[in-house]
Assembly symmetry: D2
Homo-oligomer: 327 residues x 4
């Protein structure tokens, strides 16, 4: 197995990938961006890619949401939750009072702003393409020019891999409960993960009209089947202001009758609805399903209708119908 | 074939029955009430019964709505529309100015009140069990006591059958476009009439809670599938004030995918929903169906979901899933 | 005060009227029909009329529902609940075994059918214009022709007023909990009964389209304000099959903010909505109202919006707006 | 007047600000981030701040959406639309074939990726804090260290201000119709811009439950009043995954009756709803309003209800009510 992930080594994404059974022994290919990771899946260069999809503080990872919504279809086959903890690192011998400029990814910077204002109020910010890239640039003995900044904000994973970095402060995120959700993305012919009772299904639903009514029509497809939404994000299609698609997670698996039935309804009212996969929830929280939305309720109701339909004409002449040739 | 109908001969119900192909040659059994007619169907004494279900002026015929909603199941297999025209009849030699008292069924009386106030303002009313019964009591040479009234309001059919009656006035209904809808009711194993594209389906739906929300949940099952309601009537269950069931006609046949799907949804949220039949509309008006509610749209959407479900595990190990024995 | 009621003396309607404070001392005018009673209110001949509006077994009293829905506006100012108990009466000296024919109003006949089948299986039925009229025709010494039947089904009130009648059986209704609701109807300038916290509001709402969607739009006006429906009945407008209006009772008073707001919404989407009155419930059951539908919630939200609106221009030039003459 | 804007000079944000009447003559304060700009408004340091809120390609500007949704209230008083055109600039004398590395803001980079792959396929990317900052670093004679990259992607405004920059390519955005919407944000006591008939209202609505039903309840408040949504974005509250608020733009002004009424409803069901302002649309496109959602329809319906309420008790004793002391 070959897995792509948003690199370099030491990112939160690699931490997510290492939680996948067998990934430590598999080939792991760091790539520079989510589109590159997904392109590698689409081309067959790798078997799957681990990419971030949402963060409890920053929200949806729009580059991922957009990349899976368009182009060749893909399937999410697994999710992972990684707590987001930040450390401040510097070259050996640096003291906190020496730090004038700090580099990291802009999302990480947004999540440590409170700590920075309290402890390094005057520090300048230098953008980086990833948290790990910022930290790695500080490694002693690294070839090339000076990094242009004094310290970096990164994941503790980098320090495990590079103990020579000086850790100036631990756990500096403003929100201690912050967590990022990652998804493992495979080609569309990947086997569907089996239903566990605690599953999630991810969908892409274009909004065909800029009206409250159109969005309500989508939501009704879920509500009338008792399907709960655990995430809904609107994204522009890129064509013009006010044209959206929705990226949605619902509780349940496409093998759950209520989810399958909602998908049939959605696909009818919005034929470009895209299915991105059903897979077990990382938190193993089972879906709450009312009796009348259960598989049993669907089975019974479908059997009732099928039984009624079967009374249909099989040669017998219906009551009160003219015999042939008399009408 | 044996047909029961609300008698005696000469009622509007008999007129409806005579429009059924073959009914003129069949055995026609006049009965005294709708419950008696339906009991004859349930006992197997007759093959089907013609009964009134709604009138454009008076509304639903509650005795019929209630009788088909409870007890052994029945099936509506055909409908008939009969224009409601009234004539005023009397024994031979009677003049309009002679009339002091008039008899007819109370529903008919309600529909000629305007004419009566204009032409016979002081006339007394004597209730009768049917329009035809009132008229037949006036026949000359009829044995027994005097009828106790001078004239009767009835259907023109009576005059065809008994030309000796004097017609004092024609077409005396206040509403010239008045029409009554009748249904032919058969046992539940009657063959389902074939779909024609201009069909009606009749349902009984108990309301499980006295809330706007519960009724909306029922209506949503139709609305999300584009199923139009052509009649909705609330009826008390008879248990206590505020407990209702709904008697509903929808456009379409149970062999239409959108109707079948709505029935599955209804049966789930309200397991005591009762199906009273799918049958051709008497006015042959085809249902208007949007593309995304057509059979094709359902077929395509169901095939799409089934295709996605088929990727489910058949021995293959899903991507990122631990091999057996490693978890 | 003069009150009209559906007579003659001894009807259930008179029993309802006698429960109104002061009615025993007032002038009570028995009339022959609901339309006549309401015409007397409209003409000013009486101050109010007591008429039946629904029965727990038979459903809405359609003649009342239709008569208040059209013509000059009227106001319901009070309701009364009367348990429906039936007795079988006959001339003095009659035994049950002597009874061959029974007369009563057709609604009463429908409610004693079970008892009749059990105790007088072969008895013929003679329609009457009211239960009391049937019973009074049996009074000994009454002038005129023989009544044409042996016994009558009526209210126990008749027996109180005419103890000379023989009571052959008591409490013969098939449904022991049966109850009829009556309403006291006054002219439209009648004072609005004060809010008690346990009130009912009655409305007439024409359905402007034969679609599930139109009915849902009506119901949403109630549902979004947390207004509960305690009765909903569809009635034909009389114009053609499939054209309806709804007669609706909701919990609450027009002085409740949630009811007033729902009425504003209804009147907008359906300008021919008719208000038939707010009045105390006879059962004094208070309405259940969620916090966010309470008067306080409306007052707070309206104050919030009004405060925001008040920032509107009063001479000040808005930020970023061109000074006069520069655009 | 003092205006803050996302600097440095030459950004698209400055272009938006320069379109405001009087802004060319006013004091314009470039700041380093949206939070800094809004803090300057909140502290009173500036009168208003111009910040980006959404882009037709990239979607909502999350830092702005989040910053206006929390903290002291603010008001949007104006919007501006700026077409997004990108140029590739370099120090004088540079040829396209010399370019190995390109710097710009990450959002801009996302929007020129197609052009880059076609014309500079191997070029490395260096993140910058703004498009203008990247370009300015290339200015000849600028003090300090080398910029670390060969070219920059920026707005044509920079070139107008710094004609010494070499323009290597014009209009290199992948989406030629791309546009960014900016809003001018003022303190909450800023006068409300007058209604023009082509207005927008911006709201922040917390979702109190992770259910399709809760979102539908919000949307119904708009739908039942015919208020159209032109933008809806979900944002995490930052507390935990699955907790959202919605940032919404609706067509209309708080002085439009339908918008005011929807706000009353929203505020009831969701008391922490936040109003961010009503202001003229930059595209001057008037709202389409059905008759029954017009100000006139609201006025008529409210007058009708108020008239009915006024019949309430003013000393008169309601019909059928016991006189004092008799109950």
């Amino acid at each position: 197995m070959r897995y792509a992930y948003l690199g370099p080594a030491g990112t939160f994404t690699e931490a997510a990938l290492l939680g996948v059974a067998g990934a430590r022994e598999a080939e792991r290919v760091p790539v520079s961006s989510v589109p590159v990771a997904l392109a590698a899946v689409r081309s067959g260069e790798v078997d799957a890619a681990m990419v971030p999809i949402e963060n409890s503080v920053e929200g949806g990872v729009t580059v991922t949401l957009d990349a899976v919504a368009t182009g060749t279809e893909l399937r999410i086959v697994r999710e992972a939750l990684v707590p987001v903890r930040f450390v401040l690192v510097a070259p050996p011998g640096t003291a906190l009072s020496d730090v004038r400029t700090v580099s990291t990814h802009s999302h990480a910077w947004a999540q440590v702003r409170g700590w920075m204002e309290a402890h390094l109020p005057g520090a300048g910010y230098v953008p980086a393409s990833s948290t790990a890239a910022a930290a790695l640039a500080l490694l002693p003995g690294r070839a090339g020019e000076a990094p242009g900044f004094d310290a970096a904000v990164c994941s503790p994973v980098v320090v495990q891999q590079h103990p020579e970095l000086e850790v100036l402060a631990q756990d500096i995120g403003d929100n201690r409960g912050a967590v990022t959700r990652f998804v493992l993305v495979a080609p569309p012919d990947a086997p569907l993960p089996p239903r566990t009772g605690a599953d999630r299904t991810t969908l892409v639903i274009p909004l065909w009209e800029d009206r409250a009514g159109a969005l309500m029509e989508i939501l009704e497809q879920f509500a009338t089947r008792g399907v709960n939404l655990s995430r809904i994000e609107s994204r522009p299609t890129g064509n013009y202001l006010g044209e959206y698609f929705f990226s949605v997670d619902v509780d349940g698996h496409i093998h759950d009758a209520r989810v399958a039935d909602a998908l049939v309804g959605l696909r009818r009212v919005c034929p470009s609805t895209r299915f991105l996969g059903s897979y077990p929830r990382a938190d193993r929280k089972p879906a709450a399903v009312a009796d009348h939305h259960s598989d049993g309720a669907f089975r019974d109701a479908q059997a009732w209708v099928a039984g009624l339909q079967d009374l249909g004409p099989r040669g017998a002449r219906p009551v009160g119908e003219a015999p042939p040739g008399t009408a």
